[in-house]
Symmetry: C2
Amino acid sequence: MDGSAFDILILGAGPAGISAALTARARGRSVAVLGSDPMRSALARAERIDNYPGLSGMSGWDMLAAMLGDLERQGIPRITGRATAVMPFHGRFMVSAERDVYEAGALILAAGTQQAARPYPGETKLLGRGVSYCATCDGMLYRGRRVAVLGLSAGSEADRDFLKSIGCQVLYFTGTQAKNIEIQGEEKVTGLWVNGEEYAVDGVFVLRDAVAADVLLPGLDMSDGHITVGPDMATSVPGVFAAGDCTGRPYQIARAVGQGNIAALAADRYVKEHEK
Amino acid sequence: MDGSAFDILILGAGPAGISAALTARARGRSVAVLGSDPMRSALARAERIDNYPGLSGMSGWDMLAAMLGDLERQGIPRITGRATAVMPFHGRFMVSAERDVYEAGALILAAGTQQAARPYPGETKLLGRGVSYCATCDGMLYRGRRVAVLGLSAGSEADRDFLKSIGCQVLYFTGTQAKNIEIQGEEKVTGLWVNGEEYAVDGVFVLRDAVAADVLLPGLDMSDGHITVGPDMATSVPGVFAAGDCTGRPYQIARAVGQGNIAALAADRYVKEHEK
């Protein structure tokens, strides 16, 4: 196993995740933030945010940079990558991301609205049987074969190029092209429908910024595409908390930061109770 | 009537109130913040805050100054004073503070833990009958008479001096001295017990940073000394919302800011529905 172990692992490096990380650290916890590059998020492209106290009037880019600077100054590790699976394991959690595995006593889901994205028809059923969320992890299985890449996140072109470089035949669809998707196959992937046209493929790489929360963690209660949380940001899975846009509207930085704070305090209590 | 009318009036000028004000303004609302000077609060004396994203590592003083700077840059009026009474009036609210009256379509209570302070025995019963929250408003009624001042807020000495200057005989108790208080009287104030000793007085000025929320607004549901709120920060009184420490623990800046944001969005919706 590559990777490391933490008291609290946070999935998502936006305002909610950063807030949770700072509070977890303030409580003396070992903590890390795992997520795609926040500087490629929609927030980073916001021209001006007027209602985040203390930094109002800043661009999204500058605000995120200031927040990420806080992580760095406090030595909180930031791991760039997407979590692709979560497994409860002896009262702790194992999280796969790219080709590493991380271990944590509690998780905080804070990957934004992307984490609320609905899987395509066939996606969940065929996950691990032709559907993959990670080109670098699974690409070698498809050498010399035909695969489709649904490039829904900012770094997808690099994954497409990687797959080509190892000898896959790659059909590439951007987020704008990838509408009305259906993944075909019974025991394994045999094809892909895109806007009414069928393509015969052996694999489909679905490259979102984040994997849907209830695919990542089966059994997680969702409502209207958002993770269901209680007042202390606990989800339906003990030891798993959530904060920010993935828990529902309004999508606001101040709200995300507040929820990250509450989630971290609850996760700290959870870890403390399970240390006994 | 002196004062002004606003869509949304916010009681409390700390992080929760400032956050609510910025979001109300971002929604195009006329808004003002009414409260005691936040630079005299406990937060302003905090040496260092490490878990507010974007400004971590700052002193409480600098952080508050940055937040107040946001209000100023956006031209949001800040009124220094204590609200002493709230009255629902034709679907709107009238708020007395010092010697002015303000009108608003919705209120956000964000006065911190002080707003959760319990009234002393006798205080609520004798309010307006010898008990006063405002020296400049009611002082003249006690010219040449003996009054007690319970100086529980940072600006109380100025009120004591004012009462002396207009010819009151003043017994002054600081927050440290004013323990085990009981206000005596049936129809009107006749005396004050302080730590087992009785003083004959005609009036008692209780000078907190903020008046207890359910004294300010009778009928407001409280629980364990905190204002009861729903998920959108609505209190039990329609049109009145609450945010920050007055709603309960944990007392954290990030949480207060998040709740202020949510309360302002809910107050905006409330005002919109009542404009119809």
